[in-house]
């Protein structure tokens, strides 16, 4: 392995380091910017290091926001939506990849088709539906429309298609029921796919702005992005300091999740030893 492994290709490390600094620079600027007052942020040319770094933006944000409520709402919604997608999309993805049933092709085409429809066109009808169901200003109203998504089905189907079909036969020969085969044999092998789907779904739900804005009628149902927009964007001006502080706060759980899940993606494949 070592002969063709990168024997400390220093030039590659150098290239990658330059690349990652260039790529991550705006992110770093965002975090540094959260420590600056808005006047410094509006300066041209922009500054890099804060002239007088202070946590002022953060203290302002936390004192004005009922942070706990919004964070809890965002977390509950994102966790439930992610769990729902992981479970239900893998179930259908497996059925589409491995099982034969009537209407299979119709289902797959329908799922794929809705993936290609711009979300904006179903927004208002969806809201009217949710309103008529009495779910406005409720957490279920934030969760239910996103509990399953076609993206997850497509992703799981593609990954499961790559698993050996003999596993199914082996399971059947052993007398396992179809659902048991799915739960005990296939699902454990889907670690990397589930981890990837988990990150992407969580990210989408966590950053969702327009739907929570429209569904909430009172501030107790606001999620984090909605609440942060309240304090940072005015009618005619933007409070960049608060905006960047809010953006940094919002991004931290995502990064933590990313680090945790990415490890699972790599580890997962290595241990399952898919040839």
């Amino acid at each position: 392995m070592n002969s063709i492994q990168a024997k400390g290709k220093w030039w590659l490390y150098l290239l990658l380091t330059i690349a990652v600094i260039a790529v991550a620079a705006p992110f770093i600027w965002m975090v540094l910017g959260s420590l600056k007052p808005t006047t410094e942020l509006r300066q041209t040319p922009p500054t890099w290091w804060p002239q007088n770094p202070s946590l002022d933006n953060y203290t302002q944000l936390f004192s004005r926001l009922s942070f706990g409520t919004y964070f809890a709402n965002s977390t509950i919604v994102a966790v439930v939506v992610t769990a729902g997608n992981l479970l239900f999309c893998s179930m259908l993805g497996y059925a589409l990849a491995m099982l034969n049933f009537r209407g299979k092709n119709v289902v797959f085409v329908a799922v794929l088709a809705t993936l290609m429809i711009p979300g904006v066109v179903t927004f208002v009808p969806l809201f009217v539906l949710v309103a008529n169901a009495g779910l406005v200003d409720t957490l279920p109203g934030l969760v239910l429309p996103f509990l399953v998504a076609p993206f997850g089905v497509f992703l799981m189907r593609q990954f499961i298609l790559g698993l050996p079909r003999d596993l199914l036969d082996a399971g059947r020969v052993d007398g396992a029921g179809e659902l048991r085969i799915f739960a005990r044999i296939i699902l454990p092998l889907c670690g990397p796919a589930l981890a990837t789907l988990g990150i992407l779904t969580f990210l989408g739900s966590w950053n969702n702005f327009l739907w929570p804005l429209v569904v909430a009628q009172t501030e107790k149902t606001y999620t984090l992005p909605v609440a942060l927009a309240l304090y940072s964007k005015g009618q005619n001006s933007t409070n960049y300091g608060l905006l960047l502080a809010g953006a940094t706060v919002v991004v931290i759980p995502i990064l933590l999740l990313f680090v945790a899940f990415q490890r699972k993606v790599i580890e997962g494949i290595a241990t399952t030893g898919i040839k």
């Binding site: 300066q43 327009l210 009628q217 501030e219 927009a229 309240l230 009618q235 001006s237």
Partner: protein
């Protein structure tokens, strides 16, 4: 085959639904309606209020006084972000999930009234206490919906110290004077561009229309039933506006995110046209309160008169409110002159009620007084539901006029044609 039969079923269902669309009933020709009267006595029950941004944050403090004066009433304010607020309102109206009272941008009135969502103003409300232009923003098709809450208007900001260097000691009052001043800023006071003007694009109408109104333009014709973009006055204003760009006095290639305040503070662009919120913004950019002496404001120069754009927000009561009387009582209380002055102190929002401007809190500041003077003659665009769509075409054409030197007359003809095909939406 199963797949085709499923698709056929779907297709037939869609078709059936489509064809069963009953078609439009002819709407009753909208005659001006007046609202129902409001009962007297204290307010009671719960009143839900939606307000955007800083107003949403500060309003609960003010409404506590209303609650104290009306025991038994509870005012529940929900603050809404400005970002996508318009979408929130339209979806809420569609699904019948509106509050009792809301703060609504002046340019949204036509649309919401057109959706039959707003309650007409009760006859007892005295409309003459408000600035004329602001009051007009509440009128859709002859009916007044809601009242103006706070207003803003646009003035020319200029660096007094650099103007002195350029040889200007009193602000100009006519179009020629404005151009001369801006040019002098470049030649004698070291400015890169004399004045910052928006080179077309979204919202540029708010910079161009003040000049059109100053030339005496009316944006509607046929008794307010149609758009009127290709009038000689609008043409005159467009040509004047274009000349700033062709003569190099304003920047054609200004960046998408304006750098107005830093450029103003540094003297790179020592003049611009904007509203009252810029006062604190330029002071912050200029280094604090001592910057106050270095700049001034003056009214939009006159061609036939001096006019500007009046914006701000109105307070509306929604038609399907369950607490109509108390809602209107709250609205009336918020437009009481004393409350308006108190609100100014809390939010720096300029009062829409003329008599509130007599209060020492507002007469103390000279710059503010200029805003007050301009408000008397400021105008608003027609409150047609299609205004936003039609003015987009105006903004697009203005971009061509300012950036590529296109012919203003042809551009305005195009805009007028578009406006006529889109219609007023009434």
């Amino acid at each position: 085959m199963r797949r085709t039969s499923a698709i056929t079923l779907a297709g037939v269902t869609a078709l059936a639904l489509t064809v069963s669309a009953c078609g439009r009933q002819d709407a009753a020709s909208g005659s001006a309606a007046t609202g129902k009267a409001v009962s007297s006595g204290a307010a009671k029950g719960t009143i839900t209020v939606w307000a955007m941004g800083a107003e949403g944050e500060n309003l609960p403090t003010l409404t506590k006084e209303f609650e104290a004066a009306n025991p038994g009433v509870k005012v529940q304010v929900t603050a809404i972000p400005w970002d996508a607020a318009h979408d929130k309102f339209t979806t809420a109206i569609t699904a019948n999930k509106t509050p009792d009272v809301a703060m609504v941008g002046t340019t949204w009135m036509g649309e919401f009234a057109g959706m039959n969502a707003l309650d007409p103003t009760p006859p007892a409300v005295d409309k003459s206490v408000f600035f004329d232009g602001a009051q007009k923003t509440t009128e859709v098709n002859g009916t007044s919906f809601g009242v103006p809450w706070y207003v803003e208007t646009r003035l020319v900001y200029y660096r007094t110290d650099l103007a002195k260097k350029a040889g200007i000691t009193t602000p100009p009052t006519d179009w020629a004077g404005l151009k001369t001043m801006a040019k002098a800023m470049q030649t004698k006071a070291g400015a890169k561009y004399g004045i910052g003007l928006q080179a077309g694009g979204t919202g540029s109408w708010q910079s161009v229309m003040p000049f059109a109104w100053s030339a005496g333009a009316y944006l509607t014709k046929d008794g307010g039933k149609a758009y009127n973009f290709d009038s000689p006055e609008v043409l005159k204003a467009s040509q004047y506006y274009q000349s700033f760009f062709t003569d190099g006095i304003a920047d054609k290639a200004a960046p998408a995110t304006p750098t107005t305040e830093p450029d103003f503070a540094s003297g790179k662009v020592p003049m611009f046209i904007s509203g009252p919120w810029e006062m604190s913004a330029v002071e912050k950019a200029g280094g604090g309160a001592k910057f106050k002496e270095k700049y001034g404001v003056f009214q939009i120069p006159a061609d036939t008169k001096s006019s500007s754009f009046v914006g701000g927000s109105n307070l509306v009561v929604f038609k399907n409110t369950k607490n109509r009387d108390s809602s209107w009582k709250l609205v009336n209380w918020l437009t009481d002159p004393k409350t308006q002055v108190k609100w100014y102190g809390m939010s720096t929002d300029l009062p829409s009620v003329k008599s509130a401007w007599q209060d020492p809190a507002l007469t103390a500041d000279d710059k503010l007084a200029v805003f007050g003077k301009q408000l008397e003659t400021a105008q608003a665009p027609p409150s047609f539901p299609t205004w936003e769509q039609v003015v987009t075409s105006f903004d697009t054409e203005m971009e061509k006029v300012t950036k590529t030197g296109a012919d203003p007359a042809a551009a305005l003809k195009t805009v007028q044609k578009q406006a006529e095909s889109i219609g007023t939406g009434n």
